[in-house]
């Protein structure tokens, strides 16, 4: 049993105590410290998984599943946790400092760093995400989703503007609707099998138990997760919520918050559902994903505001993961493993690049005082590092080398071609072209000769470097070999054998 798994969930929560009891300055330093500790813990987990070559487990309270609740870290979960922890730490650093200087003025909303409520929510997100990646019990996962929702929704309306409030309310309604659907599915599963432990359920379902009721339960849970992940056609809440939030909040919402329900979708259909059922469901997800890529990509092209453009791009990029479902479930050969690696790398590289782009967009808007694309001509002279971070992050969205997006999309493309799914291959290429269209449009505008005199301000260099670091992170993922990553296969298929004593 590895205590690191428990610490991954509880350590971020400890940061809440100084935030709620001590002053904002002390609280925020402690919060940042805990986010750094979170990175260390998740890195430790990833290192142990890689060293041992097998999953880590923990039976909370000493009660092994199915009576108790089990935590389990396999390669896939460890990779996602490390990615999320890094994004949260960088965003926390970004949010600490106000524009122009590192000495923040307390309580000057908008002009200084984020209020301490933001750090409470950031730490809670760290706990919720780690729990979503580690928990192996469907109800504990529901608790993780609730934590995630209640930490994410207030992020949207931190500044209390009317538009933000209505966006947050729409987000809340979609998210709660998703929770209810997910919980209904969980109830049906418990009524069928009398257990909620994923490893036990997978064993029972593999023998065809459950019939259509089990399929209906999985469908209900998937619909709930789709609403939370803003998967087409349930994406309507995402653009107003992600574009209206403050930049640091947008970055975590787009980069990591929607990744948890996506991760759980993969868990449900790759680890829990029996293969024949997953093969039926795969094409449905792929059609939703393809529609997201094409539809939201076109809408992103038509946007007039920078942050809305990035938000629509998020709704489009989610689609790539869904293309993975039929490819990963179609056969047990190396091509499905390649699709699996491609989908996971896409999740990771999109998180890093999208966080970089939202932070960069926030700095650009801060420099110019607005984010209307028509008025951003020549902003590259005022905010060169921010524009560079935006462009480098955009490489990953377009799928150009060297970037994580390139590697991920090549893997998905190869797998699709090898399996004869021509339409999926076409969608991957079309999506890349659309992303190229909307990213290059922004870069071209930013590098133009300015129409009028530019304001006499400069970007906040220190925070722009944080965005640039995230963009470089997305590029680094691009140096992965173009083959299935053995690390992601560690600990699959799910079982508690040799994980718990």
């Amino acid at each position: 049993m590895s205590a690191l798994l428990v610490l991954a969930i509880t350590a971020p929560l400890l940061g809440l105590v100084p935030l709620l009891l001590l002053g904002p300055r002390t609280g925020e330093r402690a919060a940042l410290g805990m986010l750094a500790v979170n990175v260390a813990i998740t890195a430790g987990i990833a290192e142990r998984v890689a060293q041992g070559g097998r999953a880590l487990g923990y039976a909370v309270g000493g009660f092994a599943p199915p009576l108790g609740v089990g935590l389990r870290a396999d390669g896939f979960a460890a990779a996602m946790m490390l990615m999320a922890a890094l994004v949260l730490l960088f965003t926390g650093l970004f949010a600490m400092t106000g524009p122009g200087d590192m000495t923040r003025k307390v309580n000057a909303r908008g002009s200084a760093g984020m209020p301490s409520t933001f750090f409470i929510l950031l730490l809670s997100l760290a706990c919720a995400l780690n729990l979503a990646f580690l928990a192996q019990d469907l109800f504990t996962l529901y608790v993780a989703l609730e934590l995630l929702t209640f930490a994410a929704v207030p992020l949207v309306c931190l500044e209390g503007k009317a538009g933000q409030l209505s966006a947050a309310l729409t987000y809340l309604l979609f998210a709660l609707f998703g929770s209810v659907l997910y919980l209904l599915g969980v109830v049906l599963i418990y009524g069928l099998f009398g257990t909620l432990d994923i490893a036990h359920l997978a064993g029972l379902m593999a023998h065809g138990a459950g019939g259509w009721t089990a399929a209906a339960a999985l469908a209900l849970m998937s619909a709930g997760l789709m609403a939370k992940a803003a998967l087409f056609p349930l994406h309507l809440w995402l653009p107003p919520a992600h574009s209206g939030a403050p930049p640091a909040a947008s970055a975590v919402l787009s980069a990591v918050v929607i990744k948890a329900p996506l991760f759980l979708l993969v868990r449900l259909w790759s680890d829990l559902a029996p293969l024949p059922l997953a093969q039926v469901a795969g094409p449905v997800f792929a059609v939703c994903g393809a529609a997201a890529i094409v539809f939201c990509g076109v809408v992103a092209l038509a946007q007039e505001r920078l942050k809305l453009l990035i938000a629509y791009s998020t709704a489009a990029q989610i689609g790539y993961l869904c293309l993975m479902f039929p490819l990963a479930a179609s056969s047990d050969g190396p091509w499905s493993a390649l699709a699996w690696t491609g989908g996971t790398l896409h999740l990771v590289s999109h998180a890093l690049s999208k966080a970089a782009m939202f932070l960069a967009a926030g700095l650009i808007a801060e420099t110019m005082g607005h984010d209307r694309l028509s008025g951003l001509g020549g902003v590259g002279r005022l905010a060169p590092v921010s524009v560079a971070a935006f462009g480098l992050g955009g490489l990953s969205l377009m799928g150009l080398p060297p970037s994580g997006g390139f590697v991920a999309k090549v893997m998905l493309l190869t797998s699709a071609l090898q399996q004869g799914s021509w339409w999926i291959a076409t969608v991957v290429l079309v999506g890349g072209l659309l992303a190229g269209g909307y990213v290059l449009r922004v870069v071209v505008i930013a590098l133009q000769h300015p129409d009028s005199d530019l304001p006499d301000v400069r970007e906040c260099r220190w925070r722009a470097l944080i965005a640039l670091a995230l963009a470089f992170g997305a590029m680094l993922v691009g140096f992965m070999p173009l083959s299935p990553l053995p690390f992601l296969e560690i600990g699959r298929p799910l079982t508690w054998e040799s994980v718990l004593p």
Binding site: M1, A3, V6, I9, T10, L13, L14, L16, V17, L20, L21, P24, Y58, A59, V60, G61, G62, F63, P66, L67, G68, V69, V106, N107, R109, P115, S116, T117, I120, L121, S124, C127, L131, F139, T140, V143, A144, E146, L147, F150, A151, V153, P154, C157, L158, G160, L165, L184, L188, Y190, G191, L192, F193, G194, T195, G211, W212, T213, A216, A217
Partner: protein
């Protein structure tokens, strides 16, 4: 006889649900919703789930009802929204009926008798010295879920506070009413609150061996606190008050501390010290109840209005 009672209850539930949906006026709909929650509580009693019934009535009907009534009062009397498409209502009704029928079919298709972990819990419960298996599941076997649900509750209060005009979330929430409390309210608060607090404490104490527990008790105590506020017997506390914040944190972080202590005493996170399980569990329940009561009360009172200039 019991069949007749159940049939009448089901019809009343359906009528209550229809009443909530069909009532045009927001205030009437909320009152119908509160009544519906009480009926639902009765249904849970009939299903021998007394713990769920108590929670449903205390939270689902009581505290939520007060929050909804406050919302109704804050809304403008005549909504300015345009009339919805006349086709929308029948369409929504048909979708709802289709979903209800499908869910009914799925529930009826579940195996009988239902597989469950009840036997495992019954075997493992004596080791904890608890009499109420629900408390056993909530605080021993699935303690992690309960601990994190307390964090969810704290987060929902943080979400309410985030709507404050003051970014540091200081000051007192706006009073529930601008006028001084009428004499009957003040009288009711003075008479009812001591009895209510006693009921709340009893629910907490009984929870270890009988239906009841932290959540039900916390909701009753929160209601009594609100009653005292409405009767002008106590002043709404300022949110930056250190003692108040400690009470908010006592439940989740006291529980977390017990969890960490489990490594020292039982060798595992969220394990209880052997031989002293029940005492520690009751201490955790007391801390959780305190936090639940304060958190629920503050959620009803709403965001703080900012630092006072006095």
């Amino acid at each position: 006889m019991s069949l007749l009672f159940d049939a009448v209850l089901c019809l009343l539930l359906l009528a209550g649900a229809l009443g909530v949906v069909a009532t045009g006026a927001a205030r009437a709909a909320v009152i119908a919703f509160i009544g519906y929650g009480l009926l639902l509580g009765l249904a849970w009693v009939r299903l021998a789930a007394v713990d769920v019934a108590l929670t449903e009535i205390a939270i689902g009907s009581g505290i939520s009802g007060v929050v909804l009534l406050r919302c109704v009062r804050a809304l403008p009397a005549t909504p300015k929204a345009p009339a919805p498409n006349p086709l929308l209502r029948p369409l929504a009704a048909m979708v709802s009926i289709a979903i209800a029928v499908a869910l009914g079919a799925a529930v009826l298709a579940l195996p009988e008798p239902a597989p469950s972990r009840a036997a495992d819990v019954a075997t493992a419960l004596p080791a904890t010295d608890l009499g109420n298996p629900v408390t056993g599941v909530l605080l021993v076997f699935r303690a992690l879920d309960t601990l994190l649900e307390k964090v969810v509750l704290l987060l929902s209060l943080v979400g309410v506070w985030a709507l404050s005009r003051d970014p540091a979330c200081r000051g007192r929430p706006d009073p529930l009413s601008l006028e001084p409390a009428p004499a009957p309210s003040a009288f009711l608060a003075r008479v009812l609150a001591p009895v209510g607090v006693l009921v709340g404490l009893y629910l907490l104490w009984a929870g270890a061996d009988h239906p009841g527990g932290a959540f039900q008790s916390g909701a009753v105590l929160a209601a009594m606190g609100l009653l005292l506020v409405m009767g002008d017997q106590i002043r709404i506390p300022a949110t930056q008050n250190r003692g108040l914040r400690l009470m908010l944190l006592a439940g989740p972080f006291g529980f977390l501390a017990v969890g960490f202590a489990g490594w020292a005493t039982a060798g595992v996170f969220l394990g209880y010290p052997p031989g002293a399980e029940k005492a520690v569990i009751i201490a955790v329940e007391v801390a959780i109840t305190l936090s639940i009561a304060v958190t629920l009360g503050l959620i009803v009172l709403g965001p703080p209005a900012g630092e006072e200039r006095s």
